[in-house]
């Protein structure tokens, strides 16, 4: 059940001079996309490096050619002058041929990559799972204005703005939103998937290394977007079990009625992590259904036009969290 990532991580990092700038450890540099720590993000990284390499193979010679032509054929330079020369079949063949060839190769790679990281059934995870066996962890994600609720239906628990996953185990998500469109991403682990109201999308990831990774919404969803981030803690399977058990002790319970209050617009300026020890079964499906039937949690004008007062109040009410 423990999935080991076999893809080499070292060679492409040498290729990329950008990596020089990422002096030191991973979270230090903040260049999250260049420090993949999950199976999906590493697959992206692999294709990304190939893509950049192939593109540079074309772009660098083109830049050199341009600068050479600019220099050699400057007025007063040594280039020979042929004002009427404007056509050559050989050159035409080359200038159509090179882009055609490049696009052909890139298209092939792109399609391969799309199937490998396809959010609904990533090829790389399917393959790894086949080899390792075992069951994935399921997480239902509900984006509200402007918080993330993570429900673990198998464990009957839920957490707010904090996602805990076991290392080396596939995690499969179902996602929906209560209000507007958000975009779920944990850059070091997995790419984006839209989170849409009244609809269900899917995503999957495997974390390779224990650690804390940031996640956030990438699609503009309103005034609270900048604070709509969460922490992903990748822990060992044993620690995950421990966390589940302690979470189940939490006295807070979540039913649809409680969720109805929870989902009202709220800007988590100081962070807002909560744990629910007991969650109504099928809460996710009920939310999708209610929204589809027309349920909305509207944004009061006081949270748009009069932001200033709202933010002050919010700030005063919350302890200044730090993340």
């Amino acid at each position: 059940m423990f999935i080991k990532n076999k893809r080499s991580k070292t060679w492409p990092r040498l290729v990329l001079p950008l990596a020089l700038l990422t002096l030191g450890g991973c979270s230090r540099s903040g260049l999250f996309l260049l420090e993949p720590e999950g199976l999906i993000s590493q697959t992206f990284y692999h294709y990304f490096m190939l893509d950049v390499g192939i593109m540079l193979l074309i772009i660098i010679p083109t830049v050199v050619l341009t600068i050479w032509a600019m220099w050699r054929y400057r007025k007063g330079g040594n280039g020979s002058y042929h004002p009427q020369w404007s056509h050559s079949y050989a050159i035409e063949a080359v200038v159509w041929g090179i882009p055609l060839l490049t696009v052909g190769v890139l298209s092939y790679l792109s399609v391969k990559a799309i199937y490998d990281v396809n959010p609904y059934n990533p090829g790389v995870i399917a393959k790894a799972q086949q080899a390792a066996g075992g069951d994935p962890v399921e997480v239902d994600v509900i984006a509200t204005d402007w918080r993330w609720l993570f429900i673990y239906p198998q464990q009957h628990i839920a957490s707010v703005d904090e996602l805990v996953v076991p290392v080396g185990t596939p995690v499969r998500f179902r996602l929906t939103s209560t209000s507007v469109v958000n975009d779920f991403i944990i850059p070091q682990l997995v790419g984006m998937i839209d989170v849409m109201p009244g609809m269900r999308t899917k995503q999957a990831l495997v974390a390779d290394k224990a650690g804390t990774y940031v996640g956030y919404s990438a699609d503009y969803s309103g005034a609270g977007l900048s604070w709509m981030h969460f922490q992903t803690k990748a822990v060992s399977p044993a620690q995950f079990e421990q966390w589940v058990q302690s979470a189940q002790q939490s006295p807070q319970h979540l039913s649809y009625a409680g969720f109805n209050r929870f989902a009202r617009p709220y800007i988590a300026v100081g962070g807002d992590q909560q744990i629910f020890g007991q969650v109504q079964p099928d809460l996710f499906d009920q939310v999708v259904g209610e929204v589809m039937r027309g349920k909305v949690w509207p944004t009061p004008m006081a949270m748009t036009e009069n932001m200033v007062n709202y933010m002050k109040k919010q700030r005063a009410e919350q302890k200044a969290g730090d993340y």
């Binding site: 593109m55 341009t66 280039g79 200038v95 799309i114 959010p119 609270g224």
Partner: protein, 715 residues
Amino acid sequence: MLVHLQGPWNPLLGRLTLQQIPYENPILLGTFIFAAILGVIVLGATTRYGKWGYVWREWLTTVDHKKIGVMYCLVGLVMLFRGFIDALMIRTQQAIAIGPNSPGALGAVHGYLTPFHVGQIYTAHGLIMVVFAATPLLVGIMNIIVPLQIGARDMAYPYLNALGLWLTTAGGALVMLSLFVGNFAHGGWYGFVPYFELPYSPGVGVDYWMWAFQLSVLGTTMGSINLIATIVKMRAPGMTWMRMPIFTWASLSTNLIALTSFPVLMVALGLLGMDRYLGTHFYTAGMGGNLMLYNDLFWIWGHPEVYFLILPAFGMMSEIIPTFSEKTLFGYATMVIASFAIGGVSWGVWLHHFFTMAAAPNVNSFYSITTMLVGIPTGVKVFNWIFTMYRGRVRYELPMLWALLALFLLLVGGMTGMMNAFASNDYMWHNGLFVVAHFHMMVLLIAASVFGAVEYWFPKVFGFKLEQKWGKWFFWFMVLGTGWVFVPMFFLGMAGMTRRLDYIPYTQWAPYLHITLVGMAFYVVAVLFFVAHLYVSLRDREKNRVGADAWGTSRNLEWMTHSPVPAYNFAFIPHVNARDEWAWRKENGIAELHAGDYEDIHMPKNTGIPLFLGLLSMGLAFALVWRIWWLALLCLVLMVALIIIRSFDRDTDTTIPAREVERVERAARDGSSGSVPPAGVLGDAVIATSTVRSGSGGIGGNTTSPRPSWAPRNR
């Protein structure tokens, strides 16, 4: 009222109340004072120097394609400045509001702008730059140059041309108005559903955005009809398709894109309007609405739109590079094919704007491949420009510098675009700063081409060249600014930083954000150099007067007539013998302008109706924004009435008599081209003849002729 509105409404003023005037916001108050002072100066000067008659006769009511083009460019320039200020505010906010301990001011928790305010700023920035800066600048230049390049005396529909201008201007003015009355949309320039629906955007901001957008859609669609008709029907005799200048080809392909795509946007916005005004459920999450429909409709316009912007820019590069390489364009036929290939493919790629919306992998694969296909004709164009310089004699004057900057930006933008098209990459950085940096490379390419084109064609329109010294400072500081702002932005893209943040939670990103601020400082200096460039050019204009062929090595018809171009463009409609006609004539020693038996020239007559329609459309939009129903109805009725009145007016043409043409031509040829009655701003002796009544025969009055004489006759 069919929908539930938050806040008060009354029949007289709709949703408008005193609280909607944001006088307590120091930033907006300052802006208002600045705008008011500027307005007083401009209006005061016009009154002081008694220029109202001149402004009215020669500009506000004109149907002359050159003046309309100049006004489009002025609108574009003003909006470019506004958009730049917006950018400056976003960048400063993001350079301050980093990490939980960053300071806050003016009511913001971090930085000096609240999320709501930041949202308005980047929404306005995006909409303005795409729709009210780039589009008017490009349309303006096409307006001026295309008729000249094909040897026509005006556009096919001069009246429609003016109408397009005033509708676009009304849209831009509406965006400006939202600064001082109410607020603007705060979600992003392309609109989000269901975020832009009433429950989540209860204010008037989205309505301002929607109606301003709609006005520009109308204006641009009209413009595209006009340019297509002009190019197809009004080419000078002898100008076969394959003799058409490349910029005209670019204009044709780009306007075909506009004509076919803008109506889709009108529908997309119209359905949103029905949701917001009539309570329908096209894009809502529930009640059978489908929010994905909006994304499809919007980007079916949105992607062709970006090519609508880039093709004229390519056309400009294709004019400038041969002129300053003193050589024919390499691969003319390929260039034409590539333009149309880009136009054609641009229709089949829109899904790449939402690869992350969970389409099946085979669907994403399809759109990934079609998007990459665009890279082929684009790459071909790049090579053709390089081979145009090859075996040429390249002169590095200002227009050429801008064109080459555009070429390099295209290499970066094209490469990063291809990387976006690689869908697995896009999953990681969609809605991130990598995408933002990508399209800014492209949009700055357009800006660079426009600056190049303005330097290049300015002497044609105004009769004198812009000076070079300050212009070069301006150029180099734009280069510096672009590097310093956007290179770090690519890094931020690699950091996974997303768009539209008003607060940045991760302090590791701070160095990059600070570097972009340095870049903005370069841009600010560049703007100052630009002002100096304009000022010195105007001051020294007598020193920089030029003849017909300002650059000496130009190749197309527009350089054959006088600079500045007389109202009627060509005293005699030229007969075209070759591709690059003007170069051909110079080579064959027949570059002398024909002089002799001048004839009366029939031209379209000025009219104030487009201006009034523009004003009324703005009134209508304003009334709809605030839901002042009686005012909306009134404006609508008046508009319809004006249109009907105009349709009965048969006195729409005028004649420039032969002796007047002769006088103008002689003055132009007598060396001192400075004394030509110009089509531009700088002369007082502006052609009074446009108001001369038609005398004998001809087109004016009630005679019905199938073809006015501003159009060349048969080919």
